[in-house]
């Protein structure tokens, strides 16, 4: 318990900054919806000028046009998922490697606790951090939907299904970050790793949408958790999401085993 509280305290500024900036980004985007919805016709005209592939690259979907409230919400989250993935990857790369990077391993790992207990305490701490961010983000999502809906209906169920699936999306980046951090010798810059992971998978997914490549879509969690799907079908994209779930489970197990066996070298 002492470790869990300690790790959570270490992350407190991170919780505040991420929750705040994600919320501001969300509300900022959503606040423009009333302007778009007033000019639907002009907007549709404008968009028809662009090739389908171009629109697909930016996550726009003809089944759920972004001139409608839920389509606009989906588009907002298509972009918001990038920083959300970076946040989770950040925690993943950071949490198991921080002791070695900041050379405090000789302190923590020589205490009378097992590596397993350290792993669990750290994992619970980052999970709590992600969940706290989510609670705030969920509240902001509904608040902004109702605030800026301009008379359109909110797809309550679809929104819930999407937001719930987002937790799995975050677990994907958390677990992959963790497993990479114990595979490599040293994570020198957490942000460099997590940005590469977040943007990398986003680009894979966007290319997949653009060239309609199923292989690329299967590779990237951004397409497994594409917000358009739950908002249209009111259920998760199980055919794709199970791939992410397998990766999550394998990553957690592998990172646990590798962390237990890791040699912590001195300077």
């Amino acid at each position: 318990m002492n470790m869990f509280i300690f790790e959570l305290k270490q992350l407190r500024f991170s919780i505040i900054i991420w929750s705040l900036s994600l919320s501001v980004g969300l509300i900022f985007f959503m606040a423009f919806f009333p302007v778009f919805s007033n000019d639907t016709l002009a907007m549709n005209d404008l968009l028809s000028e662009y090739p389908e592939e171009f629109l697909a690259f930016f996550g726009m979907n003809s089944d759920l046009p972004f001139t409608e409230l839920m389509g606009y919400f989906a588009l907002t989250y298509t972009f918001l998922l990038i920083p959300i993935s970076i946040q989770s990857a950040n925690y993943g790369f950071h949490i198991l490697s921080v002791e070695e990077r900041e050379l405090t391993a000789d302190f923590l790992l020589t205490k009378p606790i097992s590596r397993g207990a350290i792993y669990k305490a750290k994992l619970w701490a980052v999970l709590s951090t992600i969940l706290i961010t989510d609670v705030i983000l969920f509240a902001m999502s509904f608040a902004s939907l109702y605030m800026f809906r301009s008379g359109e209906a909110v797809n309550f169920k679809g929104t819930w299904v999407f937001l719930a699936s987002m937790i799995l999306f975050q677990l994907f980046f958390l677990s992959v970050g963790m497993v990479i951090s114990v595979f490599v010798k040293k994570v020198s810059s957490v942000l460099a790793y997590s940005m590469s992971l977040g943007f990398g998978f986003y680009i894979i997914s966007s290319l997949g949408m653009m060239i309609s490549s199923n292989v690329l879509k299967i590779l990237s969690p951004f397409s497994h958790f594409d917000p358009n799907y739950p908002l249209i079908h009111e259920r998760m994209n199980i055919e794709r999401i199970w791939i992410s779930i397998v990766v999550i489970v394998l990553s957690f197990i592998t990172s646990y085993i590798l962390y237990l066996r890791r040699n912590i070298k001195s300077l």
């Binding site: 002492n2 050379l103 302190f107 790992l109 009378p112 590596r115 070298k265 001195s266």
Partner: protein, 290 residues
Amino acid sequence: MNVIEFQKLTKYYGDVLGCKDIDFSVKKGEIFGFIGPNGAGKSTTIRTMLSLIYPTNGSVLIFDKDAIKYGPDIRKNIGYLPSEVFYYDKMKVIDLLEYSASFYEHDCSERIQTLAETMELDLNRKIQDLSYGNKKKVGIVQGLLHSPDLIILDEPTSGLDPLMQQKFFQLIKEENKRGATVLFSSHILSEVQQLCDRVAIIKEGEIIDIQDIKTLKEDTYKKITIKGEGLNHGKFKIDGVSELQERDEEVTFFFKGDVNQIIKIISSLTLRDLVIEEPTLEEIFMHYYE
């Protein structure tokens, strides 16, 4: 009773040798020195005892239990001070020490206060504002606050001024009187001589000798340098002199034996200068390191 028992402990980092066939024991209540040049394998050996790294072969028993298998249990009674100390920079000293104490079952708050007073450590400062020597003091306090039965010190004196060093040695001696066993790794012979009962000498990952400090002291060479004129006369070619280098202006040699014998010869000469010094570790263990 043995507190530490190495059993053919071997560690390779890939192809690189860390330490090989380490096989010695430390008895309860001993202050045991562990000496060798940098990179000889001292830290590797010590880090295996704390399950920071895992052995390639062999094992080490601490309190008669396997150090890896029963690591968390064993570490309840180990205090460890690494050679380089790093702590969570943004914390206050007292918060760090209390966090450290929270891993042990008994209350350590009084002990923190006493140790901090002895080491003259300000508990209310942030760790990032501390000098290297002060960080080292934090290390000492956090290593001893739970009154461990086994104290492992990995080159602990770097960064401490001579006065603090003496206070620290005093502290270690008191802990030893209380019943704690101490493993003291160092590359400075005089430190080990001052504190330890026995010493293991490590070279290129292997233990090459284990000696009583008493015999080591009797064995100790003096390094003698004399300066003057016309000294190249072969008067120093006696038993106990080694590495003799004679020139007209200057003569240097190592001497082991009855000092009076050598003083008599020296007193018969007219000199400009005389230096008698403790040989360095490398010099004294020359025969090991040749």
